[in-house]
């Protein structure tokens, strides 16, 4: 009998032992799948960053061509002319063309000449105009000037154009290749840091376009957004957390805030279109309206974070203040709010980062217009950084691809520094009670 039990026990042990190998194998496999999932996620992050950086880093350089410009008084204005009216209207494009003709005297047919002129950017004539306007004494002299090259030339120099493709499918033709090679032989082509990218607004010409207008637009939009959403968000959080009676109305408000946090952002854009633009008649594509829409969108984030910050202030602080005779409002403004402020600021920065990257609602309120001027205030039409990225991503020119990636790098740099600031704030002021 005892023996029988022993046998049974042994059998069970054998089965358990046999199963154990399988179970441990399963355990290993499961753990590997989990690790694989995380590694896959990390691979995605790095792949995304590598692809953006690899596409975009070249945009921080721009190809320039050296031209020996003869500031011909016949083409501009007589020597000694200083009237800005006359100087600004002179034929600087002709000056560039004439120089190009002189450099390549054997180009004769009309069509070839046109192709030749296309080697330098149309921005070259503006550059010459600014030079002459600044220093009219240049008229009649001969100067070496570095002017931006056309975007196709730029792409060739950066190696983005495959020369093995048949000529008809190539943006750079064989005759252009010959000219560019002779320019290179004379050291007349050079890559320099692309300052235009940071100092210009949008442009149809990739080599003349920059992100300054979009950065300014984003700044004004975020300012409006912050000015509205921060005080209102904090006030709402204070009311709900400290003063609100527990009743139906506050229940509705709470459910509402949680739901608003999950409403698709594009719906906020439609709200802005219907209310701010069609009902109040505010102008389209201005940072004011963009900021208002984004403020409504980020409010739930700020309210939720601020409430968490208020919750973390221990009740003893309130009781002490009330005990020495402060009114409830004084308790909050003098004692609770300052202690909760770091948490609220962290939440606000995260909300602002979210607003900075938001695109869809701004498309709805017309912030997709092509705007060259750099906005000077929240009432000027402007683009914002993410919308600029969207617009450039839609452009067919190869040169805009690298500019899009570069603009994304700038946007990500802003976002990462905002998030780091939030983390730093939290670390620095975090308090355990």
């Amino acid at each position: 009998m005892n023996n029988n039990l022993q046998q049974q026990h042994d059998r069970t042990m054998v089965r358990v032992q046999q199963g154990l190998v399988r179970r441990y194998r399963q355990e290993k496999r499961f753990q590997r799948i989990g690790l694989g999932a995380i590694v896959l996620g990390l691979v995605f992050v790095s792949f995304l960053f590598i692809s953006i950086i690899a596409n975009g880093y070249t945009a921080f350089q721009q190809t320039y061509v050296k031209l020996d410009i003869n500031f011909d008084p016949e083409l501009i204005a007589p020597v000694g002319e200083t009237d800005p009216e006359v100087l600004s209207k002179a034929n600087y494009g002709g000056l560039v063309k004439k120089t190009m003709r002189e450099m390549f005297p054997d180009v004769s047919s009309r069509r070839e000449k046109k192709v030749l002129y296309g080697l330098v950017s149309t921005g070259a004539s503006y550059q010459l105009r600014d030079m002459v306007m600044q220093d009219p004494a240049l008229i009649g002299t001969r100067q070496s000037v570095w002017v931006p090259a056309d975007d196709d030339v730029d792409m060739l120099i950066k190696g983005h154009i495959d020369l093995n493709v048949p000529e008809s499918d190539r943006r750079i033709k064989n005759n252009q290749m010959v000219w560019i090679q002779s320019l290179q032989a004379e050291d007349r082509i050079e890559k320099r840091f692309n300052t235009t990218f940071f100092t210009a607004g949008d442009s149809r010409e990739p080599e003349l376009s920059g992100i300054k207008g979009a950065v300014h637009g984003s700044f004004f939009t975020l300012m409006i957004c912050l000015l509205i959403s921060f005080p209102v968000g904090v006030a709402a959080a204070v009311y709900l957390e400290e003063f609100a009676p527990k009743n139906r109305w506050t229940d509705i408000i709470e459910v509402n805030i949680n739901n608003l946090a999950a409403v698709p952002s594009i719906v906020f854009g439609l709200l802005g279109l219907a209310v701010f633009i069609n009902f109040f008649g505010l102008p389209r594509s201005v940072p004011l309206v963009g900021g208002l829409v984004l403020a409504l969108m980020t409010l739930p984030t700020i309210i939720i974070a601020s409430r968490a910050a208020l919750k973390s202030v221990p009740p003893s602080i309130r009781e002490a203040a009330l005990g020495v005779g402060a009114s409830p409002m004084q308790t909050i403004t003098h004692h609770v709010l300052p202690l909760a402020m770091p948490g609220m600021l962290t939440g606000t920065i995260i909300g602002m980062a979210q607003a900075l990257g938001e695109t869809a609602p701004l498309l709805m309120i017309g912030m997709v217009a092509f705007i060259v001027d750099i906005p000077g205030g929240p009432f000027d039409p402007s683009a914002v950084l993410p919308v600029q990225i969207y617009l450039w991503a839609d452009s067919p020119e190869r040169a805009f691809v690298e500019r899009t990636s570069a603009a994304i790098m700038v946007l990500l740099a802003f976002l990462i520094s905002m998030n780091l600031l939030a983390v730093w704030l939290r670390k620095k002021f975090e308090r355990r009670w």
């Binding site: 999932a37 409403v263 219907a274 069609n278 869809a360 000077g376």
Partner: protein
Amino acid sequence: MHSSTLIIVLLGFMTLAYYMGRKRSLNLVSGRVRDLHSLPSYYGIHTALWCGVPALILFVLWISFEGAVVTGMVVDNLPQEIQELPPERLNLVLNDIRNLAQGDIVSQAVDETMQGAADHYSSLLRISDMALFVVALSVAILGGLFAQRSINRHQRARNRVEKAINFFLVSSSSLAIFTTIGIVLSVLFESIRFFQQIPVTEFIFGLEWSPQTAIRADQVGSSGVFGAIPLFAGTFLITLIAMFVAVPIGLMSAIYMAEYAGKRFRALAKPVLEVLAGIPTVVYGFFAALTVAPFFRDMGTSLGLSVSSESALAAGVVMGIMIIPFVSSLSDDVINAVPQAMRDGSYGLGATRSETIRQVIIPAALPGIVGGVLLAVSRAIGETMIVVMAAGLSANLTANPLEAVTTVTVQIVTLLVGDQEFDSAKTLAAFALALVLFTITLALNMIALHIVRKYREQYE
């Protein structure tokens, strides 16, 4: 800027009013603060509020209605035949007048009446600006003076200020409600107007979507059919692909983070994964269109498949990548909320870790996980930029992920971006789509939040 100067001047006045009110209260009791009802600074704030708030309210109202009033006055002065134009033509004329007044390019030849109207328009704007400046400042001065005069020893300044603050707090928290009401009303009204032109049944059950309405009668392919089924199908397909990517990866990484990962690995991997959550969607869209879609297309070609360069697959996969951190952080929360006692019980019976996870933790956390997935689905449905940049524009009723499909959000964007007349069925259709989008995401959120809350209560 005119209005920003006004704001700055008003702020200056408020500061001045603060000091004047404070000083007067101190003077009244010749410096003996104990004789005052409230602290002197409350009298200051009270005066400053009286000075600033009415003027600011006036300013906001003025700015809000200035455009409409001025436009109305310009229209009243236009010749009869222009006034009787249909609304959209009249709008065009008004736009020209505005552009002319600002010195921009106009769409038609400038004649005498146009120039006159533009001059009238800009002079009205100037007058309005001046009037606002004068009126707002005098309101501020009068308000400040009134409050300063009324200060006396027994005035309950603190209570009044606190009442004002309380009013601000209550109205701030009600803004959430007004936003929701605003969304519902703005979407609903336009949708009703849409459904007056297109029957609801055709919209919801129609199999063909082609919103371009013909300008000329003989145009081909511009029928203006609004059957939204292909859009719903496309949205569903892309969401499904995204979930196939996001749920396994997100869930498994959450499980690994919560149950297996060491402290240092966690501290390193978690923030990196959270980076994915902070990347703007327009960046994902660019990534999808530039890198992922061509990659899938080339891979398809080498396998002998024809993959569209705007395939649902590319958009869906990238959207899935975007949602991974969302799923993983929600699952992480619910997995951590499962009480340790349940794990210990399972280990005590001899279960391995993976068995504990699969047979104890996941079943216990399931409601929370389902809630999180539902939130992720609502996120994917409402996601706009990735699909606008990487998915197609033409409505294709297909279940093949290698073909191009379009989604609800893509159509809203294409219908509303660019020139629009506000009464055409085409524009109104966008609002009807938004109504559907809002309703579905709202329902999903409600259900998800309900499940998550129920689940939390269970273990607390």
